[in-house]
């Protein structure tokens, strides 16, 4: 299972990496913004993406739209402080499969990952 972490905060990526490694996922790739992520998805071919919303260069929503133009199926979880309903709807319309609002607990992130993979029909 290959998972890509897209977040401009290294601390957040490290937290996500720790949670994922505890869940047994070790094939991880990091990107520091949307542009960086777009340049890496082709080679890495992720099975799941965790994407922050607010990032420099290319924000998470723009990345999701660009990515969905080439890949309709790979599940995406938006991990963000944007908690308003309208923002959540906007993200889902753009192609996001699930949503985690910061601050989150490791357990919550773990739960969202499991349910997203399950809905997508991917064995965790």
């Amino acid at each position: 299972m290959r998972i890509m972490l897209v977040d401009d905060s290294k601390t957040m990526r490290n937290i996500q990496k720790s949670v994922l490694s505890q869940l047994g996922y070790t094939e991880l790739e990091e990107a520091c913004d949307g542009q960086d992520a777009l340049s890496k998805v082709g080679a890495f071919k992720p099975d799941l993406l965790l994407v922050d919303w607010n990032m420099p260069n290319m924000d998470g929503l723009s990345f999701v739209k660009a990515y969905r133009a080439q890949d309709k199926t790979t599940p995406i979880i938006m991990v963000t402080t944007e908690a308003e309903k309208s923002r959540v709807i906007e993200a889902i319309k753009a192609g996001v499969n699930n949503y985690v609002v910061k601050p989150f607990t490791p357990d919550l992130l773990s739960q969202r990952i499991s349910e997203t993979l399950s809905k997508a029909g991917i064995a965790a």
């Binding site: 601390t11 957040m12 937290i15 607010n54 402080t81 910061k102 601050p103 989150f104 607990t105 490791p106």
Partner: protein
């Protein structure tokens, strides 16, 4: 046998081994009538085989003779093929092993001089062993097979038969293996004996003398037996058992299994003994001693720091000075001396487990502190940030929650480990010591959290142990009566010193 053609004054000469034939043309020979055919005829007449004759050499000889007819000329004009006898099979030891063997031999024949200074820090000769140790499967050398040789032919055409090479004379037993390529390797680890008549690997190292400059330090993968003693600053380490026949000075002994000292160690506060299983010695003086299992001492444990995982059996021995810690029960004749020298006996101590548990407790306390600090800061920030925290605050809150959860997980794992450690300690410790003759004033016995200082002598036979509640008691083995130790000695309770108590404060023992 030279043969001469009278008319032409030429002679054919064959070498003693008949591998060459020469022609000599005397000065004044009739060279006008002498040509190659004439020389060939003379050679054949002399019994030289035509196949051995070198026409070019004949022509060169005739040319020389014609150019200087007034002197004798001689040249080899026929050659046989020399015989090549077969070579004997032989063992070629690998250069690195051979170098070590040579070095060990030199050391045994001429031991280096001891260092001049008492504290010579550059004493490399301590580490130059006089024994070559090989590990299992380590390559030692190669067996070069014998060869058949090649027959030769002399100038008369007679075959010279080659002698076949001999089998290797060196004896190889099962302690070494030879593969199809002739590579010789050790079947097991041990002491390599490699000489002209045998190559073998001994599982045990038997040192007929002592461990000193003639042997260097010993580091051996099996059992070691030293007939004499071990000198100051030398070390003997082995992965089997160790036996020493005479006095061990301030040296280091380290054996995975048992150590038996026919006499003992005079450690001068520098000697160290470490054994994975049992130690048997007549006496131990001023040394640091770690015994994995049981320790049997015959006469004296003097001014030594001793840790015994199992039992101390020393019914005729005195313990004077130093500190003796026992995991299991103990038995000795006397503790302390009339001079009231401080002698400490710790009962129910499993040093290694206590050290591990102590480190675990320190880590536990640090984790709890970190978790609590993270929790407090999380609550404070959450309250200050309200319902919709900023992005950076949300990240910090996530980080704090992550820290709390990570700490909780680590604490849970540590508690499980500490609980199992405490269970193990409680299962194995047997805090009791029987003293047959006397416990002298000044003796300190540590039992669990209790420190018992004997203010007056107590005559034996007595046993110091704990009662059902863990409190120290003195049992008179003559009358059978038991007295709380605080009636006889000055007893203080030091809970924090006792690792088991610290663990049990966090993790209570499971109900039986």
């Amino acid at each position: 046998m030279p043969q001469q053609d009278a008319s032409n004054k030429i002679r054919v000469l064959q070498a003693g081994d008949r591998l060459t034939a020469s022609v000599r043309i005397a000065a004044g020979a009739d060279l006008d009538s002498l040509d190659r055919a004439g020389v060939l005829a003379a050679l054949v007449e002399a019994g030289v085989c035509p196949q051995a004759i070198d026409n070019t050499a004949i022509d060169a000889l005739l040319l020389d003779a014609r150019q200087a007819p007034d002197r004798d000329h001689e040249s080899v004009v026929a050659k046989g093929k020399p015989v090549e006898h077969g070579s004997d099979a032989r063992v070629v030891i690998d250069p690195e092993i051979q170098e070590r063997l040579d070095d060990a031999k030199r050391k045994q024949e001429a031991p280096p001089e001891p260092p001049s200074g008492a504290d010579d820090g550059n004493a490399d000769h301590y580490n130059r062993s006089a024994f070559v140790v090989v590990l299992a499967a380590q390559r030692i050398g190669r067996l070069m097979p014998k060869t058949d040789g090649t027959d030769g032919v002399d100038v008369t055409g007679r075959v010279i038969a080659a002698k076949e090479g001999m089998k290797a004379r060196v004896k190889l037993d099962r302690s070494v293996r030879i593969n199809e390529q002739g590579v010789i390797s050790a079947s097991h680890s041990g002491h390599l004996i490699a000489g002209p008549v045998e190559i073998r690997v001994e599982r045990e190292l038997n040192i007929s003398g002592g461990v000193d400059f003639s042997t260097g330090n010993i580091d051996f993968p099996g059992n070691v037996s030293v007939s004499k003693g071990v000198k100051d600053r030398f070390s003997v380490r082995c992965k089997g058992s160790l036996t020493v026949g005479e006095l061990v000075e301030a040296a280091t002994l380290d054996a995975r299994f048992d150590i038996t000292l026919a006499r003992g160690m005079a450690g001068r506060e520098k000697g160290v003994i470490r054994t994975g299983r049992d130690l048997h010695a007549k006496y131990i003086d001023a040394a640091l001693v770690f015994v994995g299992r049981n320790f049997t001492a015959e006469r004296e444990i003097n001014d030594a720091t001793v840790r015994v995982g199992g039992k101390l059996t020393a019914p005729g021995a005195v313990i004077i000075g130093g500190e003796v810690g026992l995991g299991g029960s103990g038995e000795c004749a006397q503790i302390g001396a009339e001079s009231e020298i401080t002698t400490t006996v710790r009962l129910g101590v499993l040093e290694e487990l206590e050290r591990l548990a102590g480190a675990g407790l320190d880590r536990y306390e640090a984790l709890v502190e970190k978790r609590d600090a993270s929790k407090t800061r999380f609550e404070t920030l959450k309250k200050a940030g309200g319902a919709k925290p900023s992005g950076s605050l949300a990240e910090e809150l996530t980080e704090l929650q992550f820290a709390v959860q990570t700490c909780d997980q680590a604490i849970a794992r540590l508690m499980q480990g500490l609980g199992e450690t405490a269970d193990t300690m409680e299962r194995f410790i047997e805090p009791s010591i029987t003293v047959h003759r006397i416990i002298h004033r000044g003796t300190v016995i540590l039992v669990g959290p209790y420190r018992c200082l004997f203010k007056s002598a107590v005559k034996g036979p007595v046993t110091v142990r704990t009662d059902d509640k863990g409190a120290p008691i003195l049992e008179d083995l003559t009358s059978g009566s038991a007295t709380p130790l605080d009636k006889i000695a000055s007893v203080t309770k030091e809970d924090d010193r006792w690792v088991l108590h610290r663990i049990r404060t966090i993790i209570p023992a499971k109900a039986a």
